[in-house]
Symmetry: C2
DNA sequence: GCTTGACGCGGACAGGTGTCCGCACTCCTT
DNA sequence: AAGGAGTGCGGACACCTGTCCGCGTCAAGC
């Protein structure tokens, strides 16, 4: 009775072909459709023997009620739409993985699409047609496009949350406080005696209180230093294509200059690792000759030598906050104003940062 | 008329709240439900003016027919269930990303779940209840569990394909020919004069013609060499936890031995990079003193110095073949016998492999 | 002004589900 | 043996859609 799970289904069975509805299933069991339905939904007033009969047939045939019909009857779809910028950014993938796990544990399934420029309308329409209960955006997008989509979602009463893209109008947002991250990095370096800093891809973006540059400037000013003179850059000289190569080129660019900062701030870990190789190739000993930091705390930070000082994104917390924010909206009337939460990152000290050399090549300081 | 996309919806509009059905939408437009339906489905016999009226309202309200009701009417769900082993393995994530893109381009959406041991039944049941059109498995799973799930899918006439897990009974499979990959690696190293090889995590798994060890042995035998004497291992001495650390530990393990092979075969890129650091920390110059290879051709291969010689998985082809195999099953009766396809990988030569030193520490050869 | 064709309306059905309700059968109890 | 509780049956409805069909309406052509 139990071990009868033969693999491809016996050839000449009385096989009810494939059971596709409760009606067929009931016929197969020899009961009325309503009776089966009552068993499936745990209603009282049924003999234990009958219940067992249905359960057994259920296990044997693997029949499952049609989720679409259930939804039509008013049951929630328990589907969450997730829009990814791409699958190529490791931290974004980690957020997706974490989010999927969290949603799963709360009984939701994840419908994942890539939200490429121009396809946004289509993607969101598709989610709407499937009546997803909410939509999550992970990454950075074209502001006008995502704002339009969020407006559409709001018009339909579909909750949403944006992870990482800060400053969108009308958007519930959870994002890392990158300023705090850079401030921690700067304080670490300043404590080590560094006074001149090279930017590796960190540029002034749309100014905001949580943007990287804001944290750098705040840390410098807090010690009475002038950001204009302390922070150097050769970013404009190089094209950003592959981050690793970009980092190496930036390092070479700095080395070609007259004045060399004592510390370098990588926009992310790949760029920092690229610069690490650039410096090492030039014969410098990183940490002793120059200090170097990354951002994101990816696996690669531990896979280089010395290990990279970097900033951890606190992805678990980010996703937990985002999920809470999202699910809290499900059974409530839409909020009047969007909610914005920032997450504090954490400095991870590795082997690429050390005390500033008393006298570098002369920094004009 | 067109620019009226105000963001949070005007406060005191005559707002038809949220339009959830064609009936409501039709009422909003001022037409009969059937008329609207005809417009939506492009049926003839309608005045252009009427069509325009509906289209305009459609654009304004963003109404979308309920996909679940459509499916109930017989329309295909166009959903594919994807079971991932995890999100932590970069090559697996790249396969997922590629597959998602390919499926999207063919009009299918991806429902992604993690197929953790013990949860398989639940996951597949969930897919079945949503009436997905097919299921893809990416990664390695418990053989009995996945075989049972595939049998269930087959019983319901749901097509499937397994990517990467070779040797499952009754499973349509697309997998990399790892033996061919290792054979290419070995021929490359043999051509460079190497005769003794250290295994970095490559063990004899379930023997099959496409398993790594088979390729190593084939290459050695083709040159009249004895695998038993040429291939050395200290794998058993160390615990495999974090691959990078494992690789470094293995390198240290070999260095502690009396005889040092001239070439080392990494089970994957992380292990190889770990070993690279291990060797470099011991003062060896990789490529000159020892050669080293990885597997998978991840980004990290170019981010170490020297760049890692490795094997590319040909992920694009793998996924294309898998998708074709999957979609070909959609409109056809189930095959009697499962289809198994193997993909040829490609050697990528980097800077970690070089000519064998004429006289190593003595290899007993 | 009348005929005719074009066009929109509204009722009906199917698809799978859960639930309600009246009915009939079975089996136990007295 | 008869009453009654327990239990299963089957019809009906709603959910939302696409489609068919008969009917009403309106405008154009003569």
């Amino acid at each position: 009775m139990v071990g009868k799970l033969s693999v491809p289904a016996p050839r000449q069975a009385k096989a009810p072909a494939v059971i596709r509805s409760t009606a067929e299933f009931a016929r197969h069991v020899g009961l009325a459709r309503t009776t089966v339905s009552r068993v499936l939904n745990g209603q009282p007033g049924l003999k234990q023997k009958t219940i067992d009969r249905v359960q057994r047939a259920l296990a044997e045939t693997g029949f499952t009620p049609n989720a679409h019909a259930l939804h039509l009857k008013g049951k929630r779809t328990s589907m969450i739409g997730i829009c990814m910028e791409d699958f190529a950014t490791p931290p974004a993938v980690r957020k997706l993985a974490t989010l999927q796990r969290v949603l799963r544990s709360r009984g939701f399934s994840s419908l994942i699409e890539v939200f490429a420029p121009g396809t946004g309308r289509e993607v969101v329409r598709h989610f709407q047609s499937l009546r997803v209960e909410a939509v999550v955006f992970i990454g950075h997008f074209l502001p006008e496009e995502i704002e339009a989509r969020i407006a559409e979602l709001a018009a339909h009463g579909t909750p949403h949350v944006v992870i990482d893209h800060y400053g969108l109008k009308g958007a519930n947002t959870v994002t890392l406080d990158r300023a705090a991250g850079m401030e921690a990095v700067m304080n670490h370096l300043l404590d080590l005696g560094h006074r001149t800093f090279g930017s590796l891809g960190i540029t002034k973006g749309r100014p905001s209180r949580i943007e990287r540059m804001a944290g750098i400037q705040a840390a410098l000013r807090a010690r009475g230093l002038d950001p204009e003179r302390c922070l150097l850059s050769v970013d404009h000289l190089h094209e950003r294509n592959v981050d690793f190569d970009y980092g190496r080129n930036l390092a070479a660019g700095f080395l070609a200059q007259r004045e060399l900062p004592t510390a370098f701030l990588g926009h992310n870990d790949e760029i920092a690792v690229g610069a690490l190789h650039g410096f090492q190739a030039a014969g410098l000993k990183v940490a002793r000759d120059v200090s170097l930091t990354g951002f994101n705390h990816q696996d690669i930070c531990r896979m280089v030598s010395p290990t990279l000082t970097t900033v951890d994104q606190n992805i678990e917390e980010t996703v937990a906050v985002a999920a809470d924010l999202l699910l809290a909206q499900l059974d409530q009337p839409p909020r009047a104003r969007p909610v914005v939460r920032t997450i504090k990152p954490q400095l991870v000290i590795g082997g690429t940062t050390g005390a500033a050399r008393p006298s570098s090549r002369g920094s004009g300081f």
